[in-house]
């Protein structure tokens, strides 16, 4: 299993480094969206609920771009079939793809969060960051599990570009809600409390449920 996951991760890394199709696109999309919000709201700074909402909605749509491209290289020249013919545990692909998507999200956030702080965020990022990191990590885990599941389902259909976002969005909405509610206190100007424990727990449970669902369904999705 470890050898298979390692081989898959190495392949994912090489393909992304050669094509630069996912992460730069996601990052550019996020920064552009912050610029759009900056001018559309006609505000230089936002905080609290509004800041959390803008951040999570932007991250959600940027993540959709990565989810949509997660299996593209595998589908293009039959690489997916090549994997299916190998005598390996197919869950290795779930794990490798989820870790890949998680890595994409981490790089995205390395770009998007400072850009958000620069373009829109009222409170200093340094104060918000410790609390925000935990919320982002929990949100990313859920996006990675759901995104991999949805991408695996969509890749074997003709309408994959449409089906991916249509399936992912409703499933990811609870993560946006949980992420925004949990991070709202840490992005507030007046009150610099920690993230909401109730919403952190909700996010954690949602991650766990979808992690288990993805594990249970993934083999089935890869079958004809």
């Amino acid at each position: 299993m470890r050898r298979t996951v390692g081989a898959l991760l190495r392949k994912e890394l090489l393909v992304e480094l050669r094509t630069l199709e996912s992460v730069p696109g996601m990052s550019l999309f996020a920064v552009t969206t912050f610029v759009v919000f900056h001018f559309a709201l006609n505000r230089n700074v936002v905080d609290g609920d509004l800041a959390a909402g803008i951040l999570w909605v932007t991250l959600l749509f940027a993540a959709i771009l990565g989810i949509n491209r997660l299996f593209v290289a595998d589908a293009e020249e039959g690489g997916f079939d090549g994997f299916l013919l190998a005598p390996v545990d197919r869950s290795a692909m779930l794990l490798a793809k989820a870790v890949t998507l998680l890595a994409y999200l981490l790089v995205l956030e390395l770009v998007a969060v400072p850009a958000f702080a620069l373009l829109l965020l009222g409170p200093p990022l340094g104060q918000a960051l410790p609390g925000l990191l935990g919320v982002l990590a929990l949100g990313d885990l859920g996006v990675a599990a759901i995104g991999t599941l949805v991408a695996a389902l969509a890749v074997r259909t003709r309408a994959r570009d449409l089906l991916g976002p249509l399936l992912a969005l409703p499933l990811l909405v609870p993560i946006v809600i949980g992420g925004a509610r949990a991070s709202s206190p840490v992005l507030a100007s007046a009150h610099h409390g920690g993230p909401s424990a109730r919403w952190l727990l909700t996010l954690g449970l949602y991650d766990l449920v979808f992690g288990l669902i993805a594990y249970a369904l993934f083999d089935f999705l890869l079958e004809d």
Binding site: R10, R18, E77, G78, L85
Partner: protein, 231 residues
């Protein structure tokens, strides 16, 4: 066609496969012994590729019994993967990776030593271009890498969909020890070349609109019967 003394590598009885309402295969029955070659003829859309994908465990049979290397599909598909090599229309490789990286990737999936990658790249005369991304190579070169990928794990059964597509005569000779009759493997070949295909075959299956139109030992088949399949 009945199995003889040697163990049957393939046993198919009443195989049917649909794509939605469309019947891609219906009523296909055949058997093939170890070390024999089955050549499948038929016009485009006759079901040749579908048959190959069912035997490769990539498609489920919707009706009938399919036993490959002693395992029943789809229930025991896990036991067959790794014992068969598929050379399909698509190379089953990654365009952005080099030939060497692609083969190393498959070597890891199949638990094959890296040394075998170098050996095969030499055998298909791709060692000189093995560090260039596949997207920069000609289709013939990619096909040679795909041949190396198909035999990387020394499979018992080869499923070959027009294996000489895009290969020049020199390359055809080059890959013959790996996927030709001299490889000693059981083979199923989809072909549009009546002369070449018949020369390689022990058993011939002709498909028309997903149904078997011809199933006989190669020695008993007249090339005109194969030509008739395409009319």
């Amino acid at each position: 066609m009945t199995a003889c003394a040697r163990e049957g590598a393939l046993e198919v009885e009443g195989l049917a496969r649909h794509y939605g309402e469309r019947e891609a295969l219906s009523g296909v029955s055949l058997s093939l012994e170890e070390g024999q070659t089955l050549v499948v003829f038929g016009p485009n859309g006759a079901g040749k590729t579908t048959l190959l994908r069912v035997l490769a465990t990539l498609l489920r049979p919707h009706e009938g019994i399919v036993r490959v290397l002693g395992s029943t599909l789809p229930q025991e598909a896990w036991a067959v993967r790794g014992r068969l090599g598929l050379l399909a229309h698509e190379p089953l490789l990654y365009r952005e990776l080099t030939a060497r990286e692609n083969l190393r990737f498959h070597a890891r999936l199949h638990g094959v030593a890296d040394r075998r990658v170098g050996e095969l790249l030499e055998l298909v005369a791709m060692d000189g271009r093995s560090r260039e991304p596949l997207r920069t190579l000609s289709r013939g070169m990619v096909q040679r890498v795909a041949v190396a990928r198909a035999v990387l794990h020394d499979p018992e059964l080869l499923l070959l969909d027009e294996p000489h597509a895009n290969l020049d005569p020199a390359a055809v000779e080059l890959v013959a020890p790996l996927i030709g009759a001299s490889s000693g493997r059981t083979r199923v070949i989809c072909s549009h070349d009546p002369g070449g295909g018949l020369a390689e075959a022990d058993v011939v299956l002709g498909l028309r609109a997903g149904r078997p139109a011809l199933l006989r030992r190669a020695a008993e088949v007249d090339p005109a019967e194969i030509a008739e399949l395409y009319r």
